[in-house]
Amino acid sequence: MSAAGRTVRPVSIASFAQSQNVRKDNERNEAEGLQPVIAEVFANVGITKDDVDFICSGSTDYLIGGPFSFVMALDAVGVWPPRAESHVEMDGAWALYEAWVLFQEGEIDAALVYAFGRSSLGDLNEILTLQLDPYYEAPLWPDIVSLNALQARAMIDAGKATEADFAAIASRSRRDALSNPKAQVRHDVAPDVLLEDDYVVAPLRRHALPPITDGAAAIVLAAGDKALQWSERPVWITGFDHRMETHSLGARDLTVSPSTAKAAEVAGVADGNVDIAEIHAPFAHQELIIAEALGLDDSVAVNPSGGPLAANPLMSAGLIRIGEAASRIRAGQADRAVAHATSGPCLQQNLVCVLEGA
């Protein structure tokens, strides 16, 4: 049993794998792209599909443009004999939450969580418009880059950020990505140079936007003896929560993220020192909003993987934040980390996961 958000039963991120993040993978179908990732996430800890008690995935039909895209993706796992299995039409970080709940109940000792999606098949900027109120907003077709530009403008007008800040974040992210072979956009370009980019939608220049990414990711969760057997240095989830905000942008102060702050409070982010944070901020300015809501100070290394500005596979990008944060703890580069995932226009829904080394 656990109180809301705080783990009583420790759950370990036993294994993490992700595909190469690329601009376009037009050779393989969903199952073919996912299968090597699933194979790797099991091989990392020397297990098979028969060693997990539960499987949960995250994806959306609107990336492939047809219904039930998660159904055939299951062929990448091979759910035979029949398995306890579930799916969320959300980022894989929420699929991981669903599995974590079952661990808290004591129902399961090991789980596979995965997420997949190719953002390259359609026009993502238009597709995401369909997340808006279908009666009053979506018919006007406001595109997502423009909505995020409104948020960035609100940040500047509130005196909370400058365009130079956006460039600095983008520059740091893509430079850090040089050490992440799975990242898509990896280069060392100074902020001053980035500021010479043209605006896509002012005040957002090209560098402040995430890349379009095809990719997949998977995590094996474990508790109890399995967690200890499968990992020499287990990485534990010690706090986990997610919160929703209202939908109408006009009803929100876009420069703050109260849902992240609430989730951070419930997950206990402030209960200890945070060494690194993996923040799912697809647009550069959003990193500032989330870092503030998480209560992070300047000592925290943000997005050492390069973050979503270096690779943003929709539906996997949040799950990858958890995997990347766990990997750094396992590698001994951090003792305690915060991972964040987001959904909806302008950070409407946010998830916070606190990870700690043994």
Partner: protein, 384 residues
Amino acid sequence: MAERCAVIGVGQTHHKAKREDVSIAGLVREAAKMALADADLTWSDIDAVVIGKAPDMFEGNMMPEIYLAPALGAVGKPMFRVHTAGSVGGSTAIVAAHLISSGIHKRVLTVAYEKQSDSDAMWALSVPQPFAAPLLAGAGGYFAPHIRAYMRRSGAPDHIGRMVAVKDRKNAMRNPYAHLHLADIDMKMVEESMMLWDPLRYLEACPSSDGAAAMVLAAEDAVSGHYPPAWVHGMAMRSEPTMFAGRDQINPQAGRDCSADVYAQAGVTDPRAQFDCAEVYVPFSWYEPMWLENLGFCGQGDGWKLTEAGATAFDGDIPWNASGGVLSSNPIGASGMLRFLEVAMQVRGQAGEHQVDGAKLALGQAYGGGSQFFSMWVVGSAKP
């Protein structure tokens, strides 16, 4: 299960071909407000919201929890969206129930819906794919061959499907929320209805409905409401691959495994004797005898004999779909949750004219896709 979980409020819309009087938000609120009122709670009492529906393309609204958050009082709360094909209504209730039984939350609102009239659902199901053959069969064309295979395997006579079609529509006459109210339904009417996908006739298939279902689930120390709680005695989900060599699509292993799991949790060894009623996802009439066998209510090949003998009728020994079932109302995403909700109503004694006398223990089942996804729960009037 670590913590006991109870259903303390239920709500559903009037299911209709077109609910033009409400938006999607209005539709889900209608069911949710009814469930809150039944539980004697308000929006602020709810800790988290879990919603489910079938493909987003049915309404053209991507990841609708984002738009529906304020309508369901989810602002500032955890909100979760489940999608497991046709079983989703049941899976959604199970995900919500685990938030209680894990001890994470005290009161959870769970909602499932479909508003098919807002879009063209048949189109959404059949987006033409390049390189494929011309569209061959349509929705029923997928299921009709399996029905024929069941008839061949079990030796069931033709009239069994018609009996189910009549029984469930007669039951629906007792349920004011049902979409179809066919007062004159009889065997002859079904037999004379149009043959759609031979051997499947029009009146042996489900309608296409707009509708929503909602439940409030609570921990033992948070029970409230106007009726006694329905306690969850067991819940499970199972999936198997959609297509594989040797797959038994008439009696899927995933369905058998799922029922074995919930029966073990609930201490059920003889489902026909121990359950007082069941709500089972029967979108085409022949799925009643198929699921009777799959759920272990009888031996293999005997499902149709139970139907023929009237065992599953409203006055039979094990009434199936006293509400009228999916054959009478089919808001796709909500259809599974309605099964789970209806059995909760039965053991709470609040089913009105379709109340099965003295119902104490009941099974709710939902399945989806090509019979590869299953979700089930067992609820009872006594604490587990």
